[in-house]
Amino acid sequence: MSTISTRRGNRAEAAAAPSKYQPQDGLLLEVDDLFVEFHTDDGVAKAINGVSFDLRQGETLAILGESGSGKSVTAQAIMGILDMPPAKIPAGQVRYCGHDLLTMPEDERRKTRGPEISMIFQDALSSLNPVFPVGWQIAEMFRKHRGLNKSESLDRAVRLMERVQIPAAKERVKAYPHQFSGGMRQRIMIAMAIALDPAVLIADEPTTALDVTVQAQIMSLLEELQQEREMGLILITHDLGVVADVADKIAVMYAGRIVERADVYDIYARPGHPYTRGLLDSIPRLDQKGQTLSAIGGLPPNLTKIPAGCAFNPRCRMADHVCRTDLPPLREVEPGRESACHFAEEVLRG
């Protein structure tokens, strides 16, 4: 990978003028103490409670968590596609190349979606518009953001479909989403998301709806594209196994907070938070055949009534009275490792 002074130097596909967004020292995205809440009839659901992380060029960050942990909401808040109301962002910043997206005028921010930051979703069938041909949907990016005409943009769409390895792309450019298999549909979503060569790609459970062999293909395609384009990639998942080979860093979320952050292999080898350890123990392993699969007892907290202290304490075997009163901050427990547990050192010792 070449060093990066201007993004998009070496790519033939990019016909655009250099972006006005240029990363400083490779730093693309800074999420800073972000809060998101949902105002519903049942009260205020605190979906995200002070999340901070950075994303650099060429880096892959996996955000791991159960449903309701706030991982998808984080992604949608970065994209700016939350429905507000009911969602509200009471505090925090999302800076892209130094520009705060949250305070940016909506029209300016809209223009970052696609060319700068883009996103793919879990269920490609429902995420693609059923009544438009797939090529048209990909080409729409070039027509609306780049002002290309119909045939030029369709040519680009075909090339992108070829790039994401859709067989017979030229013939299938006019086909509709329902005429493709699940894996092919997700490839089309990916083609659409990378069309304008974004600096950041957010993949929200990109393989959850797919079967295992297709999962691996999609993950390796994402990895390939990310390396080819020096993208910053955020992979949102509940499945550690899927991201292990691809991610550089992992942030584990629980009840709207990051509870542990470390390099992939460190987390695998030695989790630093009881929740992470619980997640790892609940993955079926061949060498434990015949034994009862361990699971984390209890349920994730109701986001309208997050427990005082550490949100994980009702489900934690190590919980002490301090866990019920004091919220553990995310702190560096070893070089390059952060955990939000009062007993992180003990957990790390195993």
Binding site: I81, R110, P115, L128, V131, P133
Partner: protein, 312 residues
């Protein structure tokens, strides 16, 4: 597609035969003397009755009568009404009026209905949404003859904006202008249905995943709603409007009566009233045919609008 159309056209034959036979059997098998009242206060002379029966094959068994009648119909001979006016002439004249009326009503319900539905849908829960919901409920709840008479009285008689009744001899633009108010009355209930259908579908589609994708693609709000969400929301709406058009082409008895319109509805109504079997069967046969054809068009259109529906 061609195969589908041919198959559907072939399917129409048994439907058409079955439906017309039922109508024919019901009208002609009813007890009663078809020559009654034809000669004023007195009963008709025996020769006339005999001639009438021969002309209409009334002495044949019913299926033979039916076959002979359909044979004539297929040649374009619709027979004459008891008033000695060829059914074909009167029907084609009245069909022009009914088609104009139906067109006005359909345009009205399409334009206003979709417009109101979209406004309500994108402002769900807000004032304009409640206004649309309440006013459409109001329109749906009122019988059409009340709407018709009130509109005729206020807009025609009192404020003199529209002609009060329709003059059968008007031509050109005039013939359209005088049908405008009746058309609006006729379309009023459907406007309400179209508005509600559009609103419900739009609200549902605005929550769809592909609308979220459209936002994530950096499209403008107007494109996200106006193209991506609306295109999907209109599929059931267009189907409804198509079916409604088919129904409206069958004439509108109440509206025609109120505004003195010489349409198909009144023609059939008076045919039934006068026991004029030739008129009833002839007109209804045409109605069935038109309805079947409009429905075929709607089904084809449906496949065009929604690529997931295959006609192969």
């Amino acid at each position: 597609m061609t195969k589908y159309v041919i198959r559907r056209l072939l399917q129409m034959i048994p439907v058409l035969i079955g439906a017309t036979f039922l109508i024919f059997a019901m009208v002609f098998a009813l007890p009663g003397d078809p020559t009654a009242n034809k000669c004023g206060e007195r009963p008709c002379p025996a020769e006339y009755v005999k001639k009438f029966e021969e002309e209409h094959n009334l002495n044949d068994p019913l299926p033979i009568q039916y076959a002979k009648y359909m044979g004539k119909l297929a040649k374009g001979d619709f027979g004459t009404s008891f008033r000695e006016i060829p059914v074909k002439d009167e029907l084609s004249e009245r069909y022009v009026v009914t088609a104009k009326l139906a067109t006005i009503a359909i345009l009205f319900e399409t334009v206003l209905g979709i417009f109101a539905g979209v406004l309500a849908g994108i402002r769900k829960g807000k004032f304009i949404d409640n206004l649309v919901l309440l006013s459409t409920l109001f329109v749906i709840s009122i019988p059409i003859f009340v709407i018709g008479y009130v509109a005729q009285f206020l807009l025609g008689v009192k404020w003199r904006i529209f002609p009060v009744t329709v003059n059968a001899n008007a031509t050109g633009l005039d013939s359209w202008w005088q049908l405008l108010l009746p058309g609006l009355v006729l379309g009023s209930v459907s406007v309400a249905y179209v508005a509600r259908l559009t609103r419900t579908n739009l609200v549902e589609n605005l929550r769809a995943d592909y609308v979220r994708t459209a936002k994530a693609k950096g499209l403008t709000t107007s494109r996200t709603i106006g193209l991506h969400a609306l295109r999907n929301s209109l599929i059931p709406v267009v189907t409804f409007i198509g079916a409604d058009f088919g129904a409206l082409l069958g004439g509108a008895i109440v509206t025609e009566q109120i505004f003195n319109i010489q349409g198909v509805g009144g023609y059939i109504f008076s045919g039934i009233h006068n026991r004029d079997g030739v008129v009833v069967v002839g007109a209804v046969t045409v109605l069935i045919l038109v309805y079947l054809l409009v429905n075929l068009l709607v089904d084809i259109l449906y496949g065009v609008l929604d690529p997931r529906i295959s006609h192969d």
